[in-house]
Structures are given as structure tokens and as C-alpha cells.
Symmetry: C2
Subunit: 248 residues, 2 copies
């Protein structure tokens, strides 16, 4: 779409600049190339630094640019398609799952939104399993999986186990239950400090938060809160494995 | 989670302030209430205006605050759950669809990403149907539905019809085809000027972009690019109507 089509709509200056910059990225720069600094860019396009910065922020939101401390602003590779909705609806940790367990702790304080979904009492013990997901060699998502201790009674024995072994014990006991179904929500969020570290981003970076509810025996038995990098990921939801997912 | 848990992680000042502000929102402010201006807030929390602004941006990303020109910063209501993945997989415009057709034009220039999915030739005619979605009285999403003219040959007659009638003619002819399946991607984007207007936002506001591919007769027959307000929407994906979706 050329810029002329937009002229009937009142548009802020940064928006027009964004369109111009976007065209320049297509024609003059390669993926991974470092952009000139803000002073030079502002001079080249004859705009104020503040306007330039707004346009750069837009392009970052759209996944066209990456800004990294100590490196500068580079042209981003196309976003990676990450499958969120596998055709087979299975418990986390089932064969074929590409999340890696990191560790698990038992906690009696879960975020209020999670407690509401799990319908847990305020002081009820909940296992919190941390997992991470890597795609094409890059960390793409961090997850906290909440499982009430009452849903996996066998895991009381797992306490002496450390880190990943304990996480695996919780996941293993989940597999033994019948899974009735699952549903999901996707929303925009900002990375918590811990997730940001795992995702190699600054705290507060925009992320896509996927909340999955696993239902078993007529009630919510586990809730996963997965935080995907919004700059590098495109979440894919497929209906069946017979149909190829949208090309990355 | 209290702020103490975060102290082992190096956190930027705005991130700590965000946590403090978030607690203040919970305890001192009601939904819709206007926050004090930036100068007053910066003074109250003893931070620089730039730090305050970063924290406010975080809270806006998380859907806690809304900033509107001429009104100021208000406490946002909880996000609205919007179903994206109806249990019945149907063509757009099927009964029960809550999108409203606005108009349709025939075009020979579609965005390159859409042309790739549709596998259309560079000069092939494509119907572009504009639709909008309203939830609980608020505009929540704007959509452009791309249908190659060759897929709905009967709509050549629809040319003399104006606006919504023409859009409905395209949708009606789609319904007559067998739908093999559909898949979707969700990613972060920034609102195009036109969509922003429809969504009552500024161009460039963060949006969730849902791209749906409809497959019929073994090929992609339609592509919908739906732009949801990221500040007010939480997208819900359900497995079956038998299971209630995550509560709004």
C-alpha cells in the first residue's frame, strides 16, 4: 500500500514516517543489518528525534526492527511460527511436547487470576512447574504451570527431588488422569522480570500471554500461563495435522 | 506477588514503580477513575517524569490503564473475552457470526503476505470485504477479508450493488462452497490508520492481528486479517461449546 491511499485519513507524523521507513527497510537493508543511529536517521528524514523514536517503536511492535542494548537497532528476521494448539489435545509434558521442564516449587500464593480459574482456597498448596520453550535455537516462551497439590497427591513424595526431576514427577502424575478438554486465551502483556530474563528481553517488553486451562473430572486441574516473545513469535493455531499450518 | 520476591532479579526503576502503581490501582482507584496528572504522580512517588511514563506504558500494555486524548489516564475495566475460535468451523458470515459487513471493493493489489497465502497472481482480482465486530457495545475488531474473484464467480454481477449488499453477496457465495478447514495465526501488530479509526484508537496502537486461512477444494479460498484492540480484548479459543470458555 502506497502512502497516497492514507492521505484521506488524518495521520500523525510518526505514522507517515513509519511507512517511509518500512519501505526503506525493504529496499535498502538486509536482515540483521544495523540501522544508522537516531541522530543520523532523524537528519536524513528531516524529523524530530521524538517523532523518529515513535516510528521506530511502531516498527518494533510490528516485528520489523529489534532494539538491543549494546548492539543498536537491527532489521529483524521474519517472525517464527510457533504452534500453540497441537492437534492432539494432551497434558503438558506428553510425548511430542516441545517444552523443557526447568524446576518445580510448592507454593501457597498463586496470582489471583490463576486461583480463580483453579478454584483453589486461599491457602491451598499448588505446584508451580517452570518450563521453557526453544524454537530454532532461540528462547521463545517461558511458562508457569499451576497444579493444585490435591490433583497430584503422589507428588508429595517428590519433595526431596530437586529441579527438573520434581517438575517431571508432577507432569508424569498429570498424564495418568483423563483429560476432558482444554481452552485458551491470548492477550497482550508485559514480561515479568523473571520471564524477561529467560526470554533475553528487558522486563516490561511486550509479550503474548497464553493462558491454558486443562479440565479433568469436570473441573480445572491445571492452568498454564505461557509468555511468548511478541517481537519474534507468531502463534499458530491449527485445526488438524492434515492441514499444513500457515507458512512461517 | 509482592515486590520482595523480585529483589533478587536486577530490575529497572520503572518496573518497580509499575508494581507499586499496580498495587495503588487495586487499593485506591475504581474502574473509570481518572488518575492524577503525570506531574502529581511523579512527585507522589518521587520519580522522574520519564520513569513514570515508562511505568504507565507498561500498565497500558497490560490493560490496566487507558490513555485517551482529552480525557487523561483512566483505570481500565477488565478485558473482554472475545471468542476467536468458534466450535463450529464455518465460513465468515455464517449464521451466528457476530461480524457486521461494512462494504466490499474489488482490488488488484493485496498485501504481499496475503497474496502468498492465496497464491494469487500479481494482477488477479480479489474482493476485499470490510467487516467490523462489536462486543458489549464497544468496537473490538476490524477485518479485511480477501476472496479471489475466481473463487466467487457469481459476484461479478454484484458490482452494481453498493456497500454492505455487495459484501453480503460475496459472503453468500462463499457459503455455497464446501469448507475443508481453517487455521489461524495470532501476532502483535500496530493499528493501520483506517483500522485505528474504526477501533477508536490512534494509528499505531498495539493490536492483536489474527490471520485466518479458509481452505476449500484443497486450496486457500479466503484469508481474513482481523485486527483486535489489544488494550481491551482477550482472545478466547475453545475446544468445544460443551466446555465454558475462560470467564471474562
Amino acid at each position: 500500500m502506497g502512502t497516497t491511499q492514507l492521505e484521506t485519513v488524518p495521520e500523525p507524523k510518526y505514522w507517515h514516517l513509519k511507512t517511509v521507513l518500512s519501505d526503506a527497510l525493504d529496499s535498502e537493508f538486509a536482515v540483521g543489518e544495523i540501522l544508522p543511529n537516531e541522530r543520523e536517521l532523524a537528519a536524513r528524514f528531516g524529523v524530530a528525534r521524538a517523532t523518529l523514536r515513535q516510528a521506530l517503536e511502531q516498527l518494533e511492535l510490528e516485528g520489523r526492527l529489534q532494539r538491543r542494548r549494546g548492539v543498536g537497532t537491527t532489521v529483524a528476521p521474519p517472525r517464527v511460527g510457533v504452534a500453540v494448539d497441537p492437534a492432539r489435545h494432551t497434558w503438558p509434558g506428553a510425548p511430542g511436547d516441545d517444552w523443557q521442564p526447568i524446576d518445580a516449587v510448592e507454593s501457597d500464593s498463586v496470582p489471583p487470576a490463576v486461583a480463580r480459574l483453579l478454584e483453589t482456597a486461599p491457602d491451598e498448596r499448588v505446584h508451580v512447574v517452570r518450563r521453557s520453550r526453544v524454537s530454532q535455537g532461540q528462547p521463545v516462551a517461558a511458562e508457569l504451570l499451576y497444579v493444585p497439590a490435591a490433583a497430584v497427591p503422589g507428588c508429595a513424595d517428590a519433595d526431596p527431588l530437586g529441579g527438573p526431576a520434581r517438575a517431571r514427577a508432577v507432569l508424569r502424575e498429570l498424564q495418568e488422569r483423563e483429560l476432558d478438554g482444554q481452552d485458551r486465551t491470548v492477550e497482550l502483556g508485559s514480561a515479568r522480570a523473571e520471564d524477561a530474563k529467560q526470554l533475553d528481553r528487558l522486563p516490561g517488553a511486550p509479550v503474548l500471554v497464553v493462558t491454558t486451562r486443562y479440565v479433568s473430572g469436570g473441573r480445572t486441574t491445571a492452568v498454564a500461563v505461557s509468555t511468548y516473545r511478541a517481537d519474534t513469535c507468531r502463534l499458530t493455531f491449527g485445526e488438524s495435522t492434515a492441514m499444513p499450518l500457515l507458512a512461517g
